[in-house]
Amino acid sequence: MNQFLINKEIKENIFATKGILWLFVSSLMLSGLSLGFISIKELSLMAQNEILVTVGKVILGIALLITIILGSVSISNEREQATLESLLLTPNSASSIAFGKLIGILFIWLLVFVTSIPYIYVLSYGTGLFLSTSVLIGILGSVLVIIFSGISIAYSIFLKSSKNAIIVSILTLLITSIPIFLSTTMKKAGFGKLIDSVSPVSNVMNLLKEVIVKRADFISLIHYFIPLVIYVVAAILFLKFAVSKLNFEGGE
């Protein structure tokens, strides 16, 4: 993979106004949330590990939203601003261009994660959960970002229009997030149980809860990781398939 492609993506994502705006918005949301946990009486009564789970969900939610938007516009934007043809005419493969964009998005996630560490530190103070929560959010965030940005970049290749790719990516995120909105009883049996066990978003949220609230060890949670690994592989294969369709066979 060409490091210059990755450098350009990182530079474009971070130094462009949108990059700075993303970080500002995520910091603002986390600050508001933290303030709420301290100053609002009902929220301040919550157990500290429950607060950490909620903050973890917010951090991952912000990361997902940013990455699917960046992924959705990645290739279609190159097409719309007529820079894609020049890129494909360099000796770099379409695959290295697409995966360069994926790494650029992962870097943005890294920044969001680093920005959130002080908040995790403050909210986990005195619980001894700082390290495990940070590592867990870091790992799970990276997994979700790879899955959803991979899918979004693939949509960006197929749909050719940034607007359509964003809409379809958000719909995909919403569909995979359905189990979050189901009650605990609904998730215990039948269809609710099935979608809860296959949804990547649901698996990540369950993992957060198991580790931070129930303090379960990683080994006992292997059944949550397996679907996530499958999703990562599937997302990469889907992206590779989309890349094979990245051409000008249908004109502009």
């Binding site: 130094f15 601003q81 043809e85 020049s86 005419l89 000796p91 770099n92």
Partner: protein
Amino acid sequence: MIIETQNLSKTYKNGFKAVNQLNLHIEEGDIYGFLGPNGAGKTTTIRMLTGLIEPTEGVAYVNQENVSEKNSTIKKLIGVLPESHGYYSWMTGYEYLEYFYNLFGGDPLKAKDQINYLLDKVQLLERSNSRIGQYSRGMKQRLGLAKTLINNPKIIFLDEPTLGLDPSGQNDIHKLILELNKSMNITVFITSHLLKDIEVLCNKVAIIKDGNLLVEDTIVNLQKLHSPQEIYRIKTSDTALAITFLKSISGIAKMETEVDYVEVTLKNVQETDLIKRRIVETLFMNHIDVFEITKVKSSMEDIFLNLVNSSTTSEVKS
């Protein structure tokens, strides 16, 4: 041959045949004009020659290599300025060229010299640190041309390089292309709607219509063989009187007078010699001295329109 195609064809998935049995022959050092009306298949041909799309039939050779088989090798030999060429407006001109220099795997130690050399060549050195978003259209086009040369290509493909430029911008691009061709012996494959571009720059031309090659020849031969009409400029001792007598000659389609000469357009290109003899005899018999008869060259526009309008899709000449 630095570029050669053998029965190159492209049919898109929707069944549209964009290019049909194209046979092109381009020598090293040529400035080759590729003309055709909108939708004739020019951009599709360039994309097949540069390995961006696969032909459905036939073969394209660039530098004696099959484009479909040696795609990545060929990409290092060529520079392409696509028709709708975009830029990263947040980058400076220098950063833009540096980006592509690196993507082509250029030597990092030589990057600065090469980029500054090209920026100087396209007269953008002073603005190299300005953001591309602040560049005019002409400046962007010159930057695009510099990007096309960033990997020291042997061949450059320019798809409508002067599109949307004012006459001064067009002139700058013409000068640059001619200079590159002469000083660096770069073969240039150029498409343009502006036939003046082709006339000024190219030594060889191909015209396509509906994906079919109508003609491929040197500009001199095209003017000789495919002029739609024969126009002669006649200087005489008495222009006004000459016109009176010329009116009586059959075979003259049109006459236009200037102060000291008359321009006659002949009706039938095949009978040129006969009509010319009639003109001279008529004027001589009426005591009018003929000082000069010179043939007026047909413009590329005349030739292009003649070929495109008179052709049927099955007509292929070479």
